[in-house]
């Protein structure tokens, strides 16, 4: 109880401060515009080409078409925005205390450095969680109205296993990495470097590619794999039930089915090419790497702040 009370206090205060700063609201607005407007601009205006004859009922095909459109369409772009922008917006959480003169007040309280850091990260997680719930509901509702029914389970899986871990990891790491900075400007620059590093999901060639792939375990962009794993699963489970050779074999002369299958190919998007060329990293490895990185950065931030307190 004595541990939880200060944590609760720091978290509650930080939630209020974050709310007043409005930076996370800006992030939510950006994500919403990207999702709704981006999906509509890139895919929404095209009427899906449905095959004339198919072993699968036409309603099922429509549902699959809508699911891929709503769940996978612009999410890769959203991932880049999340990995690149969120760190910049979240990074000033700790340095803002120094900028506004709150640091001496915090230091005089009977709350440890670790508790303050934990409270700030927790507050960010809570706010991001709420935002993601609202965004998933809003985007889902908009997609349902604009395009029609889709598989809600698949849609939620993409959010739960794809976007949620990426968002929380990206935001939390940014807070910790920038916590050693006194100025907001420096914190933003640290976050910018971190964001660029994260958003670098480009597959490289040759030796550089080998080095980059080895580094993949040290950079969070491999969390893309969690998401692209969901995409592959969706593609394999939903699309290939119609477009796989046994089905297309019976309808190989049907140009409608072929057109329908080709429009669902994820690799039609350039950004997907980058993701699909790499074999997915096992989820267990991903989670272990995430945990190790989180603990290391936590220790680094804690040691940095403690060391600075000692010097001051």
């Amino acid at each position: 109880m004595s541990l939880l009370r200060p944590l609760y206090g720091v978290t509650r205060t930080e939630i209020r401060l974050q709310w007043r700063r409005r930076t996370l609201l800006l992030y939510a607005g950006l994500v919403l515009v990207t999702l709704v407007a981006g999906t509509y601009l890139l895919f929404g205006q095209d009427t899906p080409v449905l095959p004339g004859s198919s072993p699968i009922p036409i309603q099922r095909l429509e549902r699959i078409s809508n699911t891929t459109r709503v769940s996978l369409g612009v999410f890769p772009i959203l991932m880049v925005i999340t990995l690149f922008t969120l760190p910049i917006l979240a990074a000033e959480s700790v340095p803002v205390d120094s900028a506004t003169g709150m640091r001496p007040v915090l230091d005089s309280l009977p709350v440890s450095t670790g508790m303050v850091l934990l409270g700030k990260v927790l507050a960010l997680f809570i706010l991001l969680l709420l935002e993601l719930c609202a965004l998933a509901a809003l985007h889902g509702a908009t997609g349902w109205i604009l395009y029609g029914p889709f598989d809600v389970g698949e849609y939620l899986r993409v959010w739960l296993f794809g976007i949620l871990p990426l968002t929380l990891f990206s935001g939390g790491m940014a807070v910790l990495l920038a916590s050693g900075q006194k100025e907001r400007r420096r914190a933003i620059l640290v976050a910018l470097v971190f964001g660029l590093y994260q958003a670098m999901a480009l597959p490289l060639k040759g030796t550089a590619g080998q080095v980059w792939d080895t580094l993949a375990i040290s950079r969070p962009s491999f969390l893309f794999e969690l998401y692209s794993g969901q995409a592959r699963r969706l593609q394999a489970g939903l699309i290939e039930e119609v477009c796989s050779p046994p089905n297309t074999g019976t309808n190989s002369t049907d140009p409608g089915l072929e057109a329908w299958c080709s429009q669902l190919e994820l690799s039609n998007l350039d950004i997907w090419n980058a993701l699909l060329t790499h074999p997915p990293m096992p989820i267990r490895t991903t989670l272990i790497a995430c945990s190790v990185q989180g603990v290391l950065v936590w220790l680094l931030a804690w040691a940095w702040r403690n060391g600075r307190e000692g010097r001051e």
């Binding site: 700063r21 409005r22 930076t23 800006l26 992030y27 950006l30 990207t34 601009l41 890139l42 205006q45 772009i77 880049v80 925005i81 690149f84 922008t85 910049i88 917006l89 990074a91 000033e92 900028a99 100025e183 907001r184 400007r185 420096r186 933003i188 620059l189 910018l192 660029l196 958003a199 480009l202 597959p203 490289l204 060639k205 040759g206 550089a208 590619g209 350039d270 950004i271 090419n273 980058a274 060329t277």
Partner: protein
């Protein structure tokens, strides 16, 4: 004045330029050693100045005068030199540095393409017009994104919002700008990353194509200047800079509570004071 300049130069710093140089260095390395499997038009050496300059401009512009990040904000507001003038002075100091960076990146791109043996796509070397476009084409997107970052910073009083929004739009338009103008062709006048007329083509670019590119650059730059002006205009209002709130609402409150009137009657307020 000398002290002002020194303070402003220190305020400008090197970080924004370093960020732009890092993007340019990455693009040159990708081209030189053929690192990336996918083709990214924004990282082609001849377009690199256009891609890298906005990054530096966004970061620089957002931090030129950010009310929340100025420790001596009240002192600035009390001085005869207005915040708007401070902004313009810092801008005038930073702009040449960014110009040097962008031209250096453009020349480096030319050198890398020249070192590979020919013009783009193995075609003929670039003409004087191509080189002129290469060395000046970056200005319009840099002004646009810098203006946007400045305006968002002033509107929200926080540089972080300006940086985030500016960089997101930069990234989004650099990746998907072509798709946007393909789908909505009427957007060509305000597309910051519009393709320049055929560079290194055997025949010279047509006058119409050059004119279209010129109109686009002018429109994009004007948009950026307008956003700058909007941001600077907000700095004229001390209360808004201090984040006190909507000055009109404050005036209304004073009027309603019977405080001293400022001379201008707020609109939408009854002329008679409320009866208690």
């Amino acid at each position: 004045m000398r002290i002002d300049l020194r303070v402003d130069l220190r305020h400008i710093g090197w970080a924004a330029l370093a960020a732009g140089a890092a993007v340019a260095g990455f693009g040159l390395a990708v081209y030189r050693w053929d690192l990336v499997l996918v083709s990214l038009d924004a990282l082609q050496p001849l377009r690199l100045a256009e891609t890298a300059a906005p990054v530096a401009a966004v970061i620089q512009s957002a931090f030129l005068f950010s009310p929340e990040d100025e420790p001596a904000l009240e002192v600035f507001l009390a001085c005869p030199r207005s915040p708007g003038k401070i902004l313009i002075q810092r801008l005038a100091l930073a702009a040449p540095l960014h110009g040097i960076l962008a031209v250096a990146v453009g020349l480096a791109g030319l050198a890398v393409v020249g070192a590979s043996g020919a013009g783009p796509a193995g075609q003929s070397p670039l003409s004087a017009m191509d080189i002129a476009i290469l060395l000046t084409g970056w200005m319009a997107p840099a002004i646009l994104f810098a203006g946007l970052a400045q305006w968002v910073t002033q509107a929200s009083r926080q540089a972080v919002n300006g940086v985030a929004l500016g960089l997101v739009l930069w990234l989004g338009l650099a990746l998907a700008g072509d798709a946007l103008t393909t789908r909505f062709p009427f957007l060509w006048p305000v597309s910051p990353f519009l393709h320049p007329p055929c560079m290194g083509c055997p025949e010279a670019a047509s006058l119409a194509a050059l004119a279209q590119y010129g109109v686009n650059r002018v429109c994009v730059a004007l948009l950026g200047v307008s956003l700058f002006a909007l941001g600077a205009r907000r700095l004229q209002d001390s209360q808004a800079v201090l984040g006190i709130g909507n000055p009109r609402r404050l005036e209304t409150a004073r009027f309603e509570t019977g405080e001293k009137e400022t001379g201008r009657k707020p609109t939408g307020i009854p002329s008679e004071p409320r009866s208690l």
